[in-house]
């Protein structure tokens, strides 16, 4: 089914054939296909919201955009792939992936972000651009350019002539659960409240006995862990290849900015809006046009509301 190709507009000819088919045969109609697209968009939104969540958390707390966030997800996907291939059951492989990317988040923060914490914001953004190059190229060298797949097929759920893959449904459920857990953590625990507080007033944190460096490290680990969780969900749906980050990375930034950078709830809602554009636009036209419309929508919205749809923090 074409919707499986969402998020995967790869370089080979297969998609272009698919796109052509769709161009020729499909008009946008309010029929069962349309409804299916809407619902699939909803399922996609869960994943995108999860991806945006980690980035928003890091931006909100550390005030740095990890432009290489999608590449961390890619690293996690490879980690899970190899762990699974090496004999680990999928759940264990997923845990390994989460721990791996959480550790990567800490390393990224300590080695790359800390030295530029006092630099111009744009330098902080670009330095993670360097990490993006590095990770992508390192993955190419280590794993080659082949598409890989964990080979788990969960089948799909059929109802009323519509079809939804179980992997998408699971992804949606896990993403929602993860967001709920994070929310509980941030609103109940001491560390969670400190994480929220630090975004509001950095200087006085020592007066509360809070070690800013430690909070930054914890936040980076959580941000990385969320990327790892997203990776473990994505391997169920998508092939793994070194450039996969470029396919959805820009999308995540767009969602974060649309929701107001650092605003986790805003990012959540923005994920739903954007994924509907992608799913419905993709079902009416070709996959890329769904994306293109989403990006256009994004730019127009930012021109009307520069702080994002739900942004308070400027």
């Amino acid at each position: 089914m074409f919707t499986d190709l969402i998020l995967r507009s790869p370089p080979q000819a297969g998609v272009s054939k698919d796109g052509r088919e769709r161009n020729a045969s499909m008009d946008c109609q309010l029929d069962i296909f349309f409804l299916e697209a809407v619902l699939n968009g909803l399922l996609l939104a869960g994943l995108l919201a999860l991806l945006a969540l980690g980035l928003n958390l890091i931006f909100g707390v550390i005030d740095v955009v990890w432009i290489c966030y999608a590449e961390l997800v890619m690293v996690g996907m490879y980690g899970i792939y190899y762990a699974h291939k090496g004999g680990a059951p999928f759940i264990l492989a997923a845990v390994i992936g989460i721990v791996l990317v959480a550790a990567a988040g800490i390393v990224l923060h300590q080695l790359v972000i800390r030295p530029v914490l006092d630099s111009a914001p744009i330098n902080q953004l670009l330095v993670t651009g360097g990490v993006l190059f590095f990770l992508q190229a390192a993955a190419t060298m280590a794993f080659g350019i082949d598409f890989r797949n964990v080979g788990i097929r969960l089948g799909s759920f059929n109802a009323f002539d519509m079809s939804f893959s179980y992997s998408r449904i699971i992804t949606f459920g896990v993403a929602l659960a993860a967001m709920l857990l994070l929310w509980l953590f941030l609103s109940r625990s001491y560390i969670g409240i400190a994480i929220r507080a630090i975004a509001q007033d950095r200087q006085i944190m020592p007066l509360m006995g809070v070690d800013q460096r430690r909070i930054y490290m914890i936040t980076s680990a959580i941000g990385g862990g969320l990327a790892g969780l997203a990776a473990s969900l994505m391997v169920l749906q998508f092939d793994i290849y070194p450039q996969i980050g470029l396919q959805f990375g820009p999308l995540i930034f767009m969602i974060c900015v649309l929701g107001g950078l650092g605003n986790m709830l805003g990012g959540f809602i923005a994920a739903f809006i954007i994924s509907e554009f992608i799913a419905v636009g993709g079902s009416c036209f070709a996959t890329e046009w769904g994306y293109a419309i989403a990006f256009l929508f994004f730019m127009v919205v930012i021109f009307i509301r520069p702080q994002g749809l739900f942004g308070g923090k400027s």
Binding site: S16, L135, T140, G249, P250, P306
Partner: protein, 349 residues
Amino acid sequence: MRIPKTALIGVPILLLVPLAVRFAFPAAEKYYLHLLIQILIWSFIYTGWSLMGRFGLTSLGHGAFTGIGAYVMVLLWNYAGITPWIGIPVAIVVSIIVALLVGYPCFRLRIVGHYFALLTLALTEFVRLCIVGLRDYTGGSLGTQPRRFGDGVSLYALQFEPDRVLSYYVALALWALGLYVWWRIDRSMDRYALDAASQDEDAAASVGIDVTREKLKITAISAAMCALGGAIYAQYQMYIGPDTIAGLSVSLNIVFAVIAGGMWVMLGPTVGAVFTQVLSEVLRVTIQNSAALQKVFGSAVLALDTMIYGLLLILFIIYMPKGILGTLLERREKKQETPLVPAKAGTRS
């Protein structure tokens, strides 16, 4: 500026380079010229980007402008038979229009820093997706080629690729044009206005600077240069693909090279181009000649240069944010001047 003196020596040297290459590397003349041509064309594009970058307008959208430049020109030529002599101006106009459409609201609403970078990143993606989406004309992600005219060297079709020496002079002229634009802007009043605006927009506005207008002006020039550079690059490569001339990696490459070279000095982008091109060539050749490395990495070695790029980009931003040339010039100035005088070049952060 000491331009006249250096130009007096520099111009003849640059003009005689093809001759020198022919004598020095008779067997590999084409290869070395190719390297030089690449450096010159990208230098021009990088210089175009640095016009905005030096004033704090860090755009990740210039991959869109090079893409527009290349694709508009090639599509007009391939499908309407319109000569690049008209196609390039049209492409430039289109990219200026896009730049203004995106720039105007950005500057009016004072979208800066992260937001500006991410918004322009969206523009890059949008243009790339449009290119891929229009695959019936653009060849989608596989790219396409400008239709060859005659034997491939033609004034009418602005094609020169088979003749490397000619290509070198075309690229050299382009590069010189870039430096000229940079120099003109550096000496203009606009430069002071933009400098002021990049440091404090309110203060700049309060002394009567129309910040939006100034920024739009520089954005238009910068986009136009990138479009022109993209078009010439397409003519030289005789191939365009959404990932080689448009898209996020092109945008990031531009930014990286300029940062590596130094964005606040005239030859900084050029040094950045020399550095990145030579680096990737040296790595490529080293690896190709080394059976051991080949065995270890196989075909994936092609990514080694990018990996080192990434690493260097990180190191540059952390330890040398003014770039190679910027840092060198600053050192020299420090040596020459008494220690009490602050360095002139790039006191901005």
